[in-house]
Structure formats: C-alpha cells, structure tokens
C-alpha cells in the first residue's frame, strides 16, 4: 500500500524489488527512488540500459 505526502514523496511497501524497479524506471525522469539503496541501484541499472550506457 502506498502513502503520498504533500511534498510529493510516496512511501510504498513492496516484496519484489525487480518488479517495483521496472515500474519506477518506466516513469523515466518523472520518478526517483530516495531509498532503499538496493531499489535505487536496480532502477539505475534499467535506466542505464535504456540510455544505451554500458553497465
């Protein structure tokens, strides 16, 4: 379940890191993971691949 604060920060519980990383990466520059680090890194891997960068 998700909770949205007034400052645009969304807190969301999740069980599957790769699934959530796919959802967040699909939003491109419209969404950014603040924490945890493993989810940040998973999203960055997908974004770098989409940007054509070598991982």
């Amino acid at each position: 379940m998700a909770q949205v604060d007034d400052d645009g920060v969304l807190s969301i519980g999740f069980a599957e890191t790769n699934w959530l990383a796919r959802q967040i990466a699909s939003a491109g520059s419209q969404a950014q993971v603040l924490e945890p680090d493993d989810l940040r890194n998973a999203v960055l891997v997908k974004l770098r691949a989409a940007a054509g960068e070598q991982s």
């Binding site: 491109g28 950014q32 603040l34 974004l47 691949a49």
Partner: protein, 316 residues
C-alpha cells in the same frame, strides 16, 4: 393463478395487513399483494373459515368484504406481524447491501431505511458484523452503465487513459457495453473528443448518471469487434522494436504489422501505436530488453529521458 407456496404466506400476512388499513379498498389490497381481486376474495373467504380451536362463533376470524372495502371484525389472535426467519432476514440484508453498494441504482436513503428495518426485525441476527457486501468496481459500475443505455441518458466519466498515463473528465453518450478477453468495455460517443471512444470499465474512476438525454449523432456505425478492442489505424505511428526473448510476448499482446525472428529468440516487431507513451514506458522499464529501432526521434527521446533520470540520481 396463485400456488399454495405463495398463498400460505399471503394468508398469514393478510390479517395484520388489513388491521393496519381499516376499510382498504379490495382493489388496492389486491394490487399490494400482486394478485387479482378475485384471488383476494377467495383468500378472504378461506380466512373466514380459520380461527381458534372450538371453531364456533367468536373463535373464527371475522371479516367484512361484501362491498368494495375490507374490514377485520375479529382477528382470532393473528394480529402479530409476519416475522422474518434468520435466513430470510439474511437474504434481504444481502440484497439491500448489494443495492447500497451499486452507485446510482437506487435511492440510497430508502435502501438504508429498509436495511435498518430488516436489522431491527431480525433482532440483531444480521448486523454490520454479520453481513458485509463488497462488490468489485466493475461489478458496481456495470448496472449503472446498463441503466444509462436502457434509459437513454448521458454519463459523466472520470477516466484513466493508460496509454497516455492521464486522467480526464468526459461527458459521453453510451452506445453499448461489451466484454472481450476478460474485460468489460463501454463504447460511447465522447463529446469532448467528438468521436466514438471505447472505455475499459475498470479504468473508469467515477461515473455520474446525468439527467440529460444521450445525444450521440445519428447514423453512427458501431465497430466490428471480431478483430479485438484495439484496432490499429493507418494514421497511427509505425514503431519498430527489437525485443529480447523475455519480451517476445509483446508480439502476442499488441497486434503487430510484421514480426521478424532474430538471434537468440529475439524479435523485430513492427506495430501501429496510437500513443507512443506506452512504448516509452515499456522501453524504460525493460532494462535494455526492448529497444526502439524506428522512428529515430522516439528512440532518441527515450534515451534522453533515461539520461535525465540518471542525472537526477547523481545529484542526490
């Protein structure tokens, strides 16, 4: 015709009903019970021969229905209103809760009043903790959409368009409701788009049944749905994608114009796209498993968006 299964409960209900309405017209009472006047008179004649043990004067139910009206002279102890069994009360409560859950179908106040009466009559056997009815969103909306169609009324929708990732408010004139591949759809004339649009029911966020009549233009040709809900058009963007074996489902999920097999199970898929937003989301989330080969501007736009997102992470 009135069968015994219906007649016995009606006979039991008649005396308290008539006592509460002294002098009621035969025609009105018959209408309330949904039977003919002749049937009601036969019921009254049978009641006239019922009563307490002894069966003498003063023991039998006494009624006056010689003229156009009915009066109870002696009720023989049958003045207590019909009681509901727990099972009957439960069935009524479920039906009323279902009505209350369905937006726009019934007078909500009347439903809640009726429900409170059933709860009271059931003596606490069907309270809030006993009966909970929760309908899924599509099940709740379909009767409202059908009612709009039946009554020829317009609808106000708030609708989420997945392909554009946006929500919009529209006034529409319903044309039909149908189901394909496990999803229900409303096809309607959209007044803001000035065209026929198809709305997936589970993506309708709110719906209001308007008092104004539906006013779709005359002579509209409804689409042949044999080819599916989404039908690519020549004016849509032609996108060519390279998808890995893990994303080969794209060629099955979206109707392709052409598919070419590449190495290691990868495919080159050409398809018509009404909104490039979903291609952008697919590519960004795929982690390099999906790549836009054409048009070049779309591929470059997606790469730029990914680079902007990466840069934002570097700043935090």
């Amino acid at each position: 015709v009135s069968g015994n299964e219906e007649r016995l409960p009606r006979l039991l209900a008649l005396v308290p009903y008539l006592q509460g309405r002294p002098g009621i017209r035969v025609a009105d009472a018959a209408a309330d019970f949904g039977i003919t006047e002749a049937q009601l008179r036969r019921d009254l004649q049978l009641l006239w021969m019922c009563g307490l043990p002894g069966h003498g004067p003063g023991d039998l139910i006494d009624l006056n229905f010689d003229g156009e009206t009915i009066s109870v002279i002696f009720d023989a102890g049958m003045s207590r209103p019909l009681r509901l069994t727990g099972e009957e009360a439960l069935a009524l409560a479920v039906a009323l809760r279902t009505l209350a859950e369905t937006p726009g179908l019934a007078d909500a106040d009347a439903v809640h009043r009726a429900h409170a009466k059933v709860e009271t009559a059931a003596g606490g056997e069907v309270d809030e903790a006993t009966v909970t009815v929760a309908l899924d969103w599509t099940t709740r909306l379909l009767p409202v959409l059908q009612r709009a169609l039946d009554q020829g009324r317009a609808l106000q929708l708030r609708y989420f368009t997945a392909a554009r990732d946006e929500t919009s408010d529209r006034t529409v004139d319903p044309l039909r409701v149908f189901a394909i591949d496990g999803h229900s759809y409303l096809e309607a004339w959209c007044r803001s788009a000035e065209g026929v649009r198809t709305f997936r029911v589970d993506r309708i966020e709110t719906v209001d049944l308007l008092d104004e009549p539906a006013a779709a233009p005359d002579g509209l040709q409804l689409r042949d749905l044999a080819e599916g809900v989404y039908q690519p058009a020549a004016e849509h963007l032609l996108a060519v994608l390279r998808v890995s074996a893990a994303y080969a489902w794209v060629a099955d999920y979206y109707p392709p114009v052409a598919v070419t097999e590449l190495d290691e199970g990868a495919l080159q898929v050409s398809l018509r796209v009404s909104e490039p937003t979903w291609v952008r989301s697919l590519v960004l989330g795929s982690g390099g498993q999906v790549e836009v080969l054409s048009p070049g501007w779309l591929a470059e736009s997606i790469r730029a968006d990914a680079a902007a997102a990466i840069a934002a992470y570097a700043g935090k």
